[in-house]
Subunit: 325 residues, 2 copies
DNA sequence: TTGTAAGCGTTATCAG
DNA sequence: CTGATAACGCTTACAA
């Protein structure tokens, strides 16, 4: 079996306490003892058992990350940034891709709450999971409204909606359609819809929002987008809920003979690095993923130390100016 | 503090053993006792402490995933699929984005080997990390050669290289350049280079491979790609190491006045779902991420049960036929 | 059908 | 400077 502290102690002819002291560099120790212990460790290829340590300290140095799926570039980039920040602080990352399945999310939660992690960062879109309320655990939400106790880190969705809409108007479009998630979801992304509608009205234009569930397949989405063109042949521009949707819309538009940007404009949302590399011509609103991650980790740290925090952190967005709008 | 087993036992007026039995549905118990215990649990909002259980069982039900970064769509999709499969088997996932930093990879390894995880799935590109050799832990590699003890799951890189090269030749290109990672890395992706070179020679064409480090920035990559056109103005097609590189190359080509596919062809590699949605016109080789994930998890399971496994699993690739080549 | 007690591998208190 | 020993919260022989 894997050697334990006791084996090292025996081999080095010292007590367990001493080995533990060497391991944690605590207290006074003679150099001779230290050397003997290290030698014994090497000889046995000893590695301390983290779980035993976790039990005693009742902390795991693990942070849970609950997101829809890292297969989506936005969440992939965000999770990557979170991991980087957490690693720097000595935390490792336990990841759960709830994939919009409330059952899976609740199951994860149930298991993570159980002292498996020291904290949680949540960015899923599911609603009404009651476990969050009784969760006796520091939590931070990213782009998701949970309950009054849980601080939110988000990008400036209102400004993003405004920027996108203004861009399309400024480019000469009048019939502009917006796609967004279900209206009943209490997500900050809803503010984009509000911004879009407000900006349209301020310009005496008629807002029109299509609801597109994010869980559905690309094929189903495309059908909805085709309907947009059928039901509103006058449409000149679309402000999409995210970049993948924007790409799908461009694709549909081109199939229907619309040329971008000559007679149809598209603007996306998220603007991750990968998407900017794959489609540099797609005009989009960039969410500041790096700063969001940094802020979330910082706030989580404060929560874990019982320091006070704000309830909401709003980070600035930027326009990525391509040729699609 | 959070309630423990003992508190539940006291409240229900039974022993710790009984509570544990109820919790694990083991042995014979009277319904009355069961009900009393459940009631007590609810009253205290009790949740068992996983770490204590982990210590006793000396297993964590955690699997470590070591990959370069989930911000890259290929690894994002792969990690997503791995998580899905592992979750189904009752495992949770601890993730490490080594980001091509050998120090970080070694540090992760050091900590994960320490009884923190029950198994490891590795897909990083770093070389020469000796910890893997002494690792007393079931490991499976994805698209990476580690050492003789560690089974590899990969897609059919040779066939992929062949398919891509043949496609370009069949489309009429003669001056075809291939980009690939450093030749000294013992990665299965090297077989693509071999396949490319073999296929070219079989058609009496001269192969030419440019080495492009994957860790470098998009900007640095673009400079290398520009050099391709400068140094080889006769180039008619590029078989890129991956889809992101393919996109960058297309971008550079267009900036230099080359029209795709009229006078320049590009074929990518990976063919993840997101990329196919964003750039449906990009011809590429699709790696079977879902099957690779499933196979890796299956093999890891066998390893963990000390069952014999093959040393190599090669899964079939497919061509995604776009318009870029 | 239920309980007692030992043990999982650490750390920390206290004594020397 | 070093060593017994209890404790972290759970599971499981073994006993009753």
């Amino acid at each position: 079996m894997t050697p334990k502290l006791e084996d090292v102690a025996k081999l080095a002819k010292v007590s367990k306490t001493t080995v533990s002291r060497v391991l944690n560099k605590r207290g006074y120790l003679s150099q001779k003892t230290i050397d003997r212990v290290y030698a014994a460790m090497r000889e046995l290829n000893y590695h301390p058992n983290v779980v035993a340590r976790q039990l005693y300290k009742s902390q795991t140095n693990l942070i849970g990350l609950l997101f829809p799926t890292v297969a989506n570039p936005f969440f992939g980039e965000l999770v990557d940034a979170l991991e980087k920040n957490l690693y720097r602080q000595g935390f490792k990352v336990l990841i759960g891709n709830s994939m919009n399945d409330p059952k899976k999310e609740a199951a994860y939660l149930d298991q993570l709450l159980i002292k498996q992690v020291d904290g949680l960062i949540v960015g899923t879109h599911n609603q009404g999971i009651k476990e969050y309320d009784t969760a006796n655990l520091p939590i931070v939400a990213i782009d998701r409204i949970m309950n009054a106790d849980i601080p939110i880190v988000e990008s400036d969705n209102y400004r993003g909606g405004e920027l996108a809409t203004e861009r399309l108007i400024q480019r000469g479009a009048k019939h502009i359609i917006h796609t967004n998630g279900p209206i009943d979801l209490e997500t900050p992304a809803r503010r984009r819809r509000v911004a879009y509608e407000g900006t349209m009205q301020a310009h005496n234009l008629e807002p029109l929002t299509y609801t597109v569930d994010f869980n559905i397949s690309a094929k189903a989405k495309k059908e909805i987008f085709e309907k947009i063109f059928q039901e509103h042949p006058e449409v000149e521009a679309v402000f999409a809920a995210n970049d993948v949707d924007a790409a799908l819309i461009m694709n549909v538009a081109q199939k229907l003979g619309r040329q971008v940007p000559k007679d149809f404009l598209v603007i996306g949302y998220d603007g991750t690095q990968v998407v900017r590399e794959l489609m540099p011509n797609l005009t989009t609103i960039m969410q500041p993923t790096a700063q969001m991650a940094e802020q979330a980790v910082k706030v989580l740290g404060q929560r874990m130390n019982n320091e006070p925090t704000e309830t909401e952190y709003i980070l600035p967005v930027k326009l990525w100016s391509g040729t699609s709008a």
